[in-house]
């Protein structure tokens, strides 16, 4: 399931690590079917059109609004969640394709904000407006699970897919490094 690849954007190489892409199928206009999703360890039943992106099912139907809408085309990372432990763009995942998958959202990363990545984010006081940060944290936490002892360049590559319009990039980089050190300690 893990996808490690890259694409070229305006002549710039954008590496994407641990990000799952599932192609959207053609939307159908049937009446709403029911889907069972395993989110943050519990089973959630949801009635929605089969092409509904996980992002909107989470936000509108399940009232889990921590996962953010930024671009809707998988380019900004604000909607990042974990699918079976891999970072994935929830705006590009249809609920009909997630049967049996373990979905983790920012709400489920820890009960109380005590995940090492969240603690590092707080210690460094990363956010400015704060809107993109849930997605940044989800990308960082999945990355550190796979690579607990990353180099500076590996951190920069891993976080390259998440846009922060306020440009809190220096602090994001430092927070990922701090979380890595904490995890090892």
């Amino acid at each position: 399931m893990r996808f490690a690849g890259a694409f070229v954007f305006n002549g710039t190489f954008l590496p994407l690590y641990g990000i799952v892409f599932i192609k959207l199928t053609n939307p159908t206009l049937k009446k709403m079917p029911t889907y069972n999703l395993k989110i943050n360890g519990s089973s959630q039943s949801i009635e929605a059109a089969e092409d509904t992106p996980l992002l909107w099912a989470l936000r509108d139907q399940l009232n889990m609004v921590g996962t953010k809408f930024g671009c809707g085309i998988g380019q900004c990372g604000a909607c990042t969640v974990h699918i079976d432990g891999n970072a994935a763009r929830s705006c590009q995942l249809q609920i009909s394709q997630l049967d049996g998958k373990e979905i983790t959202t920012i709400e489920g990363l820890s009960d109380d904000g005590s995940h090492p990545v969240q603690e590092a984010w707080k210690a460094i006081d990363v956010p400015q407006c704060g809107y993109c940060q849930a997605g940044q944290i989800m990308t960082a936490s999945a990355f550190l699970d796979k690579n607990p002892n990353p180099s500076k360049q590996e951190i920069r590559n891993a976080m390259h897919g998440n846009i922060c319009r306020c440009a809190s990039y220096n602090r994001i980089e430092n927070a990922v490094a701090m979380a890595a050190e904490k995890k090892i300690a």
């Binding site: 206009l29 909107w56 889990m64 671009c71 440009a167």
Partner: protein, 754 residues
Amino acid sequence: MSTILSTKFSRRSFLRTSSLASGGMLIGFNFFTACKDTVKMPIDISKLNYNDFNAFIKISDEGMVTIFSPNPEIGQGVKTSMPMIIAEELDVPWENVNVVQGVLDTQNYVRQVAGGSQSIRFGWDALRQTGATARQMLVNAAAAKWGVDASECSAKQGFITNAKGESLGYGDVANEAAILEGERAAKIAALAEGEEAPEETIALKDPKEYTLIGTDVGNVDIDKIITGKPLFGLDYKAEGMVYASVLRPPAFGQVLESFDDTDARAVSGVIDVVKIGEKAIKLMGKEQVDWSVRLALSEKVVVIAENTWAAIKGKKALKAQWSDGTPLESTEAHDKILVDLLDGKDFTNLRKDGDVKTAFKQADKIVEQTYESPFLPHNCMEPMNFYANVTDSKIHLVGPVQTPASAASTVAALLGRDEKDIRLEMTRMGGGFGRRLYGDFVYEAAEISDKIRKPVKMVSTREDDMTTGVYRPAIKYRIAASIKDGELTGYHLKEAAVGSNMYGLIPNFFPAGAIENYQVDVAKYDSNITTGAWRAPYTNFLSFAEQSFIDELAEVLGKDPVQMRLDMLEKVKGSTDDRIQYSAERLQDVLKLAVEKSGYRKPKEGVFQGICAYYCHNTHVAEVADVVMEGNQPVVKRITVAVDCGIVVNPLGAKNQIEGGAIDGMGHSMYGDFAFEKGMPTSNNYDSYRLIRMNETPIVETHFVKNTISPTGLGEPALPPAGAAVAIAIKKATGNRIYKQPFATNMAAKPILG
């Protein structure tokens, strides 16, 4: 120059105190009448006024302090830093302070605005006076309880202590303080006509005594942000709420002809399709209409659905016909129009010193360059959205807007309703950058709810935001300088802009005042493409043009670019021109600090450094960009920023603004590109519009000038110098000067050095 340490004022017009039914006291205060210092606004963004907003403090019986922060929070940190200033003077432990976002309250708060980097500057004295006055009220109440003189008592960290060493918590006397204040207010109210209320002097802390200001305080919303709790406009929900997606004209100049909603209605989850816009169009005929009503002045088709996805899908399924209301414009045509304006004679003069014409006639040499910038969209990460619930008796509005007061009054005018019936709540905003100064999305939500009579959330997509926005105007500057006997004798800057020109004191920023013969002229082309404020309006590009030009002049004159600026600034000292509000000394000092901290005089092998200094939004900044060549590409590795913003209220938040501002300034200078063809933007999402990302990001190192001057804002000032510092460093690394943004597509990357 130092900040004031005590103040005389009449409490009558400034504070209102009452005891609470639940115990404790509520203090209402008015920033505006507390501000003795009638400092003129440095720049006026249209009709905005920043210096008269109010707020409330609540002190509970338990001694807990709630501060209602009135100013909109867009990521600039005022929800943390402004309450810090009150807490410092009140002398209460920060752990006992709870900060709550105030709602728009036109009765008690006036003009709640986030913009122009002015919140801290205008709030500073009033916030300190408020905290100090509240502390004195509590001390007076404790003294009365003990039967001692208030001068024998002191307050510290939430406790009042008397000469005997007895102490009382703030909560123990909060109610008494409110009652005492009520009695005092009654006495003042009973004064005979013509009799003045006694002025009182309350001591403010010496900055040396600060225990909270100047310390690192984390974002007050941090726990909610890192755990994904509802916080932003898009997160707001209400019972029975439906979702709306608005189809606006695809090109600027187009208006709706007709539409077919058959397929849209067939989308599961779609409830209704309605048309809006007629009310906004009608409103434009009236007087005193907020400018932003003009945005997308066409009828629009709205898909109402049970959820956002169905609304977006429904909108995509709409078939609409559009006609050209006004001619459709293109960047290619604008380029020619702006050059023609620069070549022409039809200018408005904004500043004229000496005689530029004669200086140019007598010159040995004239240097002239033209600098060009594209339109830029704001790209707030949280797309525009707003909640509205219009009923027969009330209008409830909730969401992210930088100008809540004008949004509410415009909605009242739009719907023909009384402003008193409107309740507007502000949420935290996923970025502002100027976009949320314009309330078009509020009016749309209100018009939709008015039509369908349901609570509704209007949600724009990224494509909607990027293609139907308000943009930084595309601008060209032509700067010419005259040189005589190896010295700079004249400077003439011309601006040609699409939409609107620089305003206020901008033409008086450095290098104004430093050159004997100096002139700034502007011209504009009125377009149907909407333009407006974009983080650090005008200076975001002007700084690049002017500072690049000064660097080039230094090269032509064979002068050191730092020394040349220091010498120019020397000539400004002692100026009596009140339009010159920057301090030559402070600008020199940040320049020297940047030189020292960046190692500018001794760069490392292979590192090319560009330096510049700029003043805007009342803050003095110098920046040095370090560029290295990787292959044949110049790469920005570090930006050193030296800042004089006076007293630094919250260094942790302040540095965040500076780091973000410098990277934002560099990012948009390097990559920001936005053009129009036949009235339509050529990019609409992040696959075709490039924003700076982690791998292009330099390390930003911030250094503050330490002083006790009253603080100024930081939301914008670090942005403008970054583009210039980077362009100058790239020139050193490659030998080629850059005159056009974005740099990435307008620079010859090949190095000519080595």
